[in-house]
């Protein structure tokens, strides 16, 4: 179908959301999910899928989701870090549901959910 200039701008913005991933200088938010054997067996895959789904739903285009291996604290798995502007927060004992909340609260609203972080859990 023939596109107007406004249509083209829309196409550009939409497509860019996905493609920003290929521009390494753009992102300032990075979610690092533990995907060691420990993580996967504790249910890291559904957590990862939930994160991506939530990011997708909200069109958060400058969030990178990467995986990492075992970080040595297997009892806390599934766990992931959220890095925003080089500040790192580690969330532990995640479920799909909690992960979705983290995306909304932490990444969108910029409010850390203290209850889910490693500092809180270690003190328990």
């Amino acid at each position: 179908m023939k596109k107007s200039i406004a249509d083209l701008m829309k196409i550009r913005d939409e497509a860019l959301k996905n493609m920003q991933l290929r521009d390494q200088s753009e992102s300032n938010c990075r979610v690092v999910v533990g995907m060691g054997t420990c993580g996967i067996s504790a249910g890291a895959r559904p957590v990862l899928r939930a994160i991506i789904d939530e990011i997708n739903k909200r069109s958060l285009n400058n969030v990178q989701v990467v995986q990492t291996g075992c970080v040595g604290m297997c009892r806390f798995e599934p766990m992931f870090d959220v890095n925003i502007n080089d500040e790192k927060v580690t969330y532990v004992n995640m479920t799909s549901e909690k992960a979705r909340q983290v995306v909304v609260e932490h990444i969108v609203n910029k409010r850390v959910i203290r209850d889910y972080t490693i500092g809180k859990s270690e003190n328990e």
């Binding site: 596109k3 290929r22 899928r49």
Partner: protein, 606 residues
């Protein structure tokens, strides 16, 4: 719109495709399905990444992980380890991407970090078959800007400010050419893209068409607007099937979006593009021969003037530019001519794409700012000659160019600088030669090419190149005389001065430049009847040294029966004599060397 957490970019250029990158892509997709992560990871087939030597190439984002020489059997590991579990498969990385166990991203390895990409900026980054990905990276923004905010004169002015010169060979200022084309009024006018790319070893234009075909379409449309033309032709050789099919897809998509056709973006401007396939003759890259070919005639040059800007296709005003020239234009319109002219050196602005080939470690495609030195390109980016061989010369400008020596390595690359040294920029072939290359043989190789490709229309080129080649043949086979050398020179200048088109005018360049820089090699062939590098087989002589034990193994295999026991007596007891080769009958097949027992190794080749 689906957002993926990871993108796997696989090179779909001609080089990597021929080493099965399409199958690698299919395998990757099926592995991702098997692992259930195909909705999280996107697989994209892109254009050429440039480092063809290391193909097939795969880049995984967001990390920018650079896998090289990927095999189908490696795909499973990359999918399971990297994409599922996030562990980079280190042993499959490009060797330079791993330094002291630290993984470098694709932007950080030397080959890329020293380049600057304008014409190639989308190659290896976007899916060339998806117009949306082109649009995402500012595609068609330049067209919107030109059509809605600029009048044709302003577009041409911007090009003039940019200092862009033609990338197809002659280096004519592009803004000026557009101005000429715009100045001729006619009911029909044309824009033509020269994608004939006939230089042996050159593949810049092919890679642009394969990697970012929309850039060329967008620029041609802008050219139509600026010069008052409503119809474009892309003349591309039929030997580039991937480029042709991507162009076809791109044209179809652009038409669907209304970016080609009638009333583009509701501005009232009409422009359409058609592909014309060429049969791949070198001379058809010459603009007037190209016009003849588009008109359905035999590809032979016309005399100039009139230039195509006045009388081109069907006798109508025609603007002809090279693929790479066009590929620079959207960026110039978007970022301004000033920005472009800030890159490079006074007479040569912007960047140039080179196809590195010959005796060089990183064979492939590089784009560098003008003014970069040959040394930086050959050593820092190209990695120098393989196997620690010594650099001898570099041929720029393909068969029409000349060779430059190690003395010239610190020359900043630019149109005028290369011409001053007796070579030229040409379309961007860069063939490196090391100590094992015979320069007379190299000159003969290029002459062989131009002699074959001469269209035959004018005598100096048709007959002259043939005679030049015969002279070189004589020299390479040991039949040359000193007189032949002066005849070679005389004829070379004659052809240069008297040929009809640039094919003939530049055909003697390889001879003239090798004669100038490597005269000693010619003299060795002519006077000593020796080829210093051993490339010219006919000048090799086989000898049997005094290590010979007289066994006769060599004589028994010699197909010409020219080895006889006629040397001095080796052993008084048996009366055996050393064997001797009659070099007047020897055909240099090398069978005797193979037959001589390794412990003895009495036969040498000099």
């Amino acid at each position: 719109m689906q957002i993926y957490r990871s993108h796997v970019l696989i090179c779909g250029g001609t080089g990597c495709t021929s080493s099965k990158s399409l199958l690698i892509k299919d395998e990757m997709i099926s592995e991702l399905k098997r692992l259930g992560i195909h909705n999280e990871v996107q697989v994209v087939m892109t254009g050429c990444f440039g480092l063809c030597e290391q193909g097939p190439i795969m880049i995984v984002y967001p990390e920018g992980t650079f896998y090289s020489k990927v095999k189908i059997s490696d795909v499973k590991r990359i999918a399971e380890e990297h994409l599922l579990k996030g562990r980079i498969v280190k042993d499959l990385l490009y060797y330079e991407a791993l330094e002291d166990e630290i993984v470098k991203s694709v932007e950080e390895v030397d080959f890329y970090s020293k380049q600057m990409r304008i014409a190639l900026s989308n190659c290896g980054v976007i899916d060339p078959e998806n117009i949306d990905e082109y649009i995402a990276f500012d595609g068609y923004q330049a067209l919107i800007k030109a059509l809605t905010e600029m009048n044709p004169e302003q577009v041409i002015d911007e090009l003039k400010i940019s200092g862009l010169r033609g990338r197809g060979g002659a280096g004519f200022p592009t803004g000026l050419k557009w101005e000429f084309a715009a100045s001729y009024k006619d009911d029909e006018k044309y824009v033509c893209c020269n994608a004939d790319e006939g230089d042996p070893g050159a593949f810049m234009d092919r890679s642009i068409l394969e990697g970012t075909p929309h850039s060329v379409l967008e620029a041609m449309t802008i050219a139509g607007y600026a010069t008052g033309a409503n119809k474009g032709y892309i003349y591309v050789r039929a030997e580039y099937p991937i480029a042709v099919s991507r162009l076809e897809i791109a044209i179809k998509q652009a038409k669907e979006y209304g970016l080609l056709g009638d009333n583009i973006l509701d501005t009232g401007f009409d422009f359409d593009i058609e592909i014309r396939l060429g049969a791949g003759a070198f001379v058809c890259g010459e603009e007037t021969a190209l016009i003849e070919s588009i008109e359905g005639k035999r590809g032979m040059p016309r005399t100039k003037p009139p230039f195509p800007a006045e009388k081109g296709i069907w006798g109508k005003p025609t603007l002809i530019n090279n693929v790479e020239t066009f590929a620079n234009i959207p960026a110039i319109i978007l970022k301004g001519g000033k920005w472009f002219s800030s890159i490079g050196i006074p007479d040569s602005k912007g960047t140039k794409v080179f196809a590195l080939g010959g005796k060089i470690t990183n064979t492939g495609l590089v784009e560098i700012p003008m003014g970069t030195t040959l040394r930086q390109v050959i050593y820092d980016i190209g990695g120098g000659c393989p196997d620690n061989k010594k650099f001898k010369a570099v041929q720029t400008g393909g068969p029409s160019g000349g060779c430059l020596t190690s003395e010239h390595l610190d020359t900043p690359i630019g149109y005028d600088n290369l011409v001053k040294l007796g070579s030229m920029m040409g379309s961007g072939g860069m063939i490196v030669m090391d100590e094992d290359n015979c320069m007379v043989d190299i000159a003969r190789y290029f002459l062989d090419f131009t002699c074959d490709e001469s269209c035959g229309k004018c005598t100096p080129c048709r007959e002259g190149t043939k005679r030049l080649k015969e002279l070189l043949d004589r020299i390479c086979t040991g039949k040359g005389t000193l007189e032949d050398l002066s005849r070679l020179e005389e004829l070379a200048y004659y052809i240069q001065d008297n040929s009809l088109c640039n094919l003939g005018q530049s055909a003697p360049n390889p001879v003239i430049s090798t004669l100038k820089h490597f005269r000693d090699e010619y003299l060795a062939h002519v006077i000593d009847k020796k080829c210093p590098t051993g490339v010219c087989k006919d000048l090799l002589q086989y000898f049997i040294t005094d290590r010979c034990l007289g066994c006769g193994s060599c004589a028994r295999v010699c197909p010409k029966d020219c080895i006889t026991p006629t040397g001095e007596i080796i052993s008084e007891k048996t009366g055996k004599r050393r064997f001797v080769i009659d070099n007047s009958k020897c055909i240099k097949c090398g069978a005797c060397i193979q037959a001589c027992p390794p412990k003895v190794s009495a036969i040498v080749r000099q």
